[in-house]
């Protein structure tokens, strides 16, 4: 596989290292001279100095081939968006992956149809939410392509679903329960599974159905 990586920070350099170790072909573009020199010492001709949002730089790096995958991993969201747009729309690259540095820019990536994206801050926030003992809906995973998401809900003693079997719940259209975690043991949720106080329930649903699901399981 031929991979083009824009941005030689910690993410870019580590991905590069792993790809090469696994026998793939890759080029890493870095804009800052100091950083580039360190990368060049390690990756030799496979590291390139330049601004990956400049068309001639991308072309020198082989974007016309085109690569199987372009990774936009710079520390600048605008740059990552432009790199992805150029790769997909000018050079017909089939697959791009973009790093989102500031989660507030996520809607812009979505607007421009850039997917999948990876945002460290959002992932950390998701995990923090997971740790907070607040009985509400926690987003665990977004499946953008499928337009589905996986959430976790903790059933408390006031939940209307406590003591009820899954088949008796009026779950919203486009939502299903996946599993129930009780006393450290997870089980697949089936119709006869009874929900109890303290259960951690995983659900899969279409985005936008959160409130309905919350109402059925938690009544808020």
């Amino acid at each position: 596989m031929y991979v083009l990586i824009a941005g030689g920070g910690k993410a870019g350099a580590n991905v590069m290292r792993t790809l090469l170790r696994n026998g793939h072909e890759a080029t890493l573009i870095e804009q800052e001279r100091d950083r580039f020199e360190r990368l060049e010492a390690e990756f030799e001709h496979q590291a390139m100095l330049g601004d990956a949002t400049e068309i001639f730089v991308l072309e020198k790096a082989g974007i016309r081939r085109p690569p199987d995958l372009v990774l936009a991993l710079t520390g600048d969201d605008e740059d990552n968006m432009v790199i992805c747009q150029l790769a997909k729309e000018k050079y017909g690259v089939q697959k791009v992956i973009a790093r989102v540095n500031d989660p507030r820019n996520q809607p812009h990536f979505d607007l421009l149809g850039i997917s999948p994206t990876v945002c460290a801050t959002s992932s950390i926030l998701g995990l923090v939410e997971h740790e907070v003992p607040e009985h509400d809906l926690v987003h665990l995973l977004e499946l953008r392509k499928e337009n589905l998401e996986i959430v976790e809900v903790q059933i408390d003693k006031n939940s209307p679903s406590a003591g009820k079997r899954v088949e008796k719940l009026a779950l919203p259209e486009g939502a299903r329960l996946i599993s129930v975690m009780r006393d450290g043991q997870a089980e697949i949720a089936v119709g006869s599974t009874e929900l109890l106080e303290g259960d951690q329930v995983l659900a899969i649903l279409e985005p936008g159905k959160e409130d309905e699901l919350r109402r059925v399981l938690l009544k808020r």
Binding site: I55, K90, R104, L111
Partner: protein, 148 residues
């Protein structure tokens, strides 16, 4: 008519003042509060401090009621993204974006963004200015050589 100017530097501020003098209601956006001084003491339009990538800032500047948007920050890629947000998210058809790099300006112009590339304009104007120069060095030299 309402215009939003994003990036209130030399170019943005002058465009803002010119449109305002023609009767537009203009709101400028800049990251730096000091940019307000570029608009002059008698500025009666709006001014919002913030980043143009921030949709709350764009809304505060009234983009939802905007008729025209000029994007002229000092970053090409920032302008490209803000321009597309104004055009696609807020539906402002008259969104004009400054892009210094001619290659990117061409690409985004093909994709339906109204781009203005000062670099291309400078290249055209400078080339044309040299072509039409009346006192040409090489011409004089060749005349001198030809003299017996």
């Amino acid at each position: 008519m309402q215009a939003i100017i994003i990036g209130c530097g030399r170019v943005g501020s002058t465009v803002a003042k010119r449109l305002a003098s023609e009767g537009w209601h203009v709101t400028a956006i800049d990251e730096k509060e000091s940019a307000l001084s570029r608009l002059g003491e008698d500025w009666t339009g709006g001014f919002v401090v913030g980043h143009g990538m921030d949709t709350d800032v764009l809304r505060e500047a009234g983009i939802e009621e905007g008729d025209g948007v000029v994007v002229a920050t000092d970053g090409d890629n920032t302008n490209i993204v803000i321009g597309q947000v104004a055009q696609k998210r807020f539906g402002i058809d008259c969104t004009v974006v400054r892009i210094l790099d001619p290659a990117r300006a061409d690409f985004y112009a093909q994709r339906g963004l109204r781009t203005v590339c000062p670099t291309s304009t400078a290249i055209d104007v400078l080339t044309e200015a040299v072509r039409t120069c009346e006192v040409g060095g090489p011409k004089e030299a060749s005349v001198q050589v030809a003299r017996p």
